[in-house]
């Protein structure tokens, strides 16, 4: 059984359809960078042990300074790695049956949450740019909404064509549902206006 994750301000009857992170290749890329920085102190220890007398006197100044510097380096490395992972993992796009939520975790203390109703979506475009993106099948999906200059961009997500297709099919089903309701609503409004103010519109006898 699939567990429905809880999302911010979940509406009654709302269901999470897609919960998207960036592609794993993006995580792999930053993992390799941190792996490189993890090997640097190992090389440093090897050089210090073989070519210097830094570790010869365990009670001395050079030894204490080396241990403190290495300790600080390891702690900061671990923290930066965790924060980078946090920024990756908490950067989420959620598509429900009613809305699209964009949670942008840009830095540790900078988080932006924006949402848009699905029926306001006008245009969905997806792109896969570059050799690596085509090889690993990740790319961007742009969701243009009505009356808004800015658009939602799902960046570096896996299988963007399927995501765009899912959003479009959700949109079609909502349009069918909302379209009938809207028609009834507009007709009702016009009818009530005509009753309250017969001279405002229409033709004179």
């Amino acid at each position: 059984m699939k567990i429905q994750p809880t999302i911010p301000n979940m509406l009654p009857g709302e269901k999470v359809i897609l919960m998207l992170h960036r592609h794993g290749f993006i995580a792999f890329r930053f993992f390799m960078i941190y792996l490189f920085f993890a090997t640097l102190p190992v090389i440093g220890v090897w050089l210090l042990a073989n070519y210097t007398t830094a570790f010869a006197d365990p009670a001395g100044f050079v030894y204490a300074l080396t241990v403190l510097l290495y300790g600080a380096y390891a702690l900061i490395w671990g923290l930066l790695f965790f924060i980078t992972w946090l920024n990756y993992y908490l950067d989420i796009w959620i598509v429900t049956n009613e809305r699209i939520i964009n949670i942008a975790q840009q830095r540790l203390f900078y988080r932006v949450v924006s949402e848009q109703k699905l029926y306001r979506v006008q245009d969905v475009t997806w792109e896969m740019k570059g050799v690596i993106a085509n090889l690993f099948r990740f790319g961007n999906v742009q969701v243009q909404t009505a009356g808004e200059d800015d658009k939602f961009v799902f960046e570096h997500i896996s299988q963007p064509e399927k995501v765009a297709q899912t959003i479009m099919s959700l949109l079609e089903s909502i349009e069918k549902q909302i379209g009938l309701d809207k028609m009834a609503e507009v007709e009702g409004d016009l009818g009530s206006q005509a009753e309250s103010n017969p001279s405002a519109g229409g033709t004179k006898p």
Partner: protein, 91 residues
């Protein structure tokens, strides 16, 4: 000038304090906004384990240091005998 070795612990303590605050903020953020998913909980557990292991290793290595000893900075002071009052006659 001779500096005591324990003075090295002051900048390290400051760095450690800032690290501790940022770590607590990062862990709380992950637990609060990570939907308490398996990946979020495991990553928090791994980070705390790595941090505790690093601190223990640092502590084990630092126990060997003689913190009461000092280090002489610059050229060491030389006490020459004051022959014929030369020290006072030098410009």
């Amino acid at each position: 000038m001779t500096l005591s070795l324990w003075l090295l612990l002051i900048p390290f303590g400051l760095v450690f304090g800032v690290w501790l605050i940022l770590s607590a903020a990062a862990v709380l953020k992950m637990l609060r906004f990570g939907f308490l998913s398996r990946a979020a909980v495991i990553s928090v557990f791994l980070f705390i384990s790595f941090s505790v292991a690093t601190i223990v290793v640092i502590f084990i290595f630092l126990r060997q240091v003689d913190w009461s000893s000092g280090v002489t900075l610059g050229s060491p002071e030389i006490n020459l005998p004051n022959v014929n009052d030369l020290k006072n006659r030098l410009p």
